[in-house]
Amino acid sequence: MRDAADILGIGELLKRKPRQLSGGQRQRVALGRAIVRHPRVFLFDEPLSNLDAKLRVQMRVELKKLHLRLGTTAIYVTHDQVEAMTLGDRVVVMKDGVVQQVGEPLELYNQPANKFVAGFIGSPAMNFAAVTVTAANGSLMAENSGLRIKLPDETAQRLRGHIGHEVTLGVRPEDLTVAGIADPDHLCFDAVIEVVEQLGSEILLDMVRLARASWWRAWSRPRG
């Protein structure tokens, strides 16, 4: 028990009553109760969901350290995609009890198997728009009322069988950049800023295209 307390940094708290402990300390005690049993597998069921934001980040790091130190397999259930991305070696994304994708965190981020996974992994969530695939001058275009994007060759190859059909185009907020002179027109667009969220390390812009609002409104931002 003393070893477990030392691992968790709660040795000085052992004589306290539960009501004398903070939320984070109680979480550590709960972990300690599990550690002393030397389990072959830990099952964490949303262990950080009732903590405030700051403590949740601290405990997330503690759990990561604990996992590295003990080396015990852990199954961690969470609705928080940041916890899934930072703590998981392999992530299983489920919807309505059905597995949507299994993979390493960056695999899910870079190659989501479907729209649900794409919208769940990543923060802010991926933007989506309904477009129709068309062919013009040997290239494939993604079109909507007012939108005409020339698809890159790699993407076009995968969409040869979808000419004339509607597909959903997805782009992550971090994959949009302020256009420079080197950016080709067919991948650029003008938009008007509606909301500015200053986060210090980045700026989030909630935007709408003014001249072609009917198309631009088609972009949706999944809300969590």
């Binding site: 190659q111 989501p112 198997a113 479907n114 729209k115 794409a118 802010p124 969530a125 991926m126 933007n127 989506f128 993604a142 994007i149 698809l151 890159p152 790699e154 993407t155 995968r158 969409l159 979808h162 059909h165 509607e166 597909v167 959903t168 185009l169 997805g170 782009v171 992550r172 907020p173 971090e174 994959d175 949009l176 950049t177 302020v178 256009a179 420079g180 950016d183 991948l187 650029c188 667009f189 003008d190 938009a191 008007v192 800023i193 509606e194 909301v195 500015v196 200053q198 986060l199 390390s201 980045e202 700026i203 989030l204 812009l205 909630d206 935007m207 709408v208 003014l210 972009w219 931002r221």
Partner: protein
């Protein structure tokens, strides 16, 4: 639509901004099955 831009970008509400998509980072999904294409 949401864009994440560099913290040094000087912007304010109602500004017009020209954005570019990174072509290698576009995702496409089937409209009916929602599976990645």
């Amino acid at each position: 639509m949401v864009a994440s831009v560099e913290p040094t970008t000087r912007v304010k509400v109602r500004d017009k901004l020209r954005l570019a998509m990174r072509p290698s980072r576009l995702h496409v999904f089937d409209a009916k099955t929602e599976a990645a294409i």
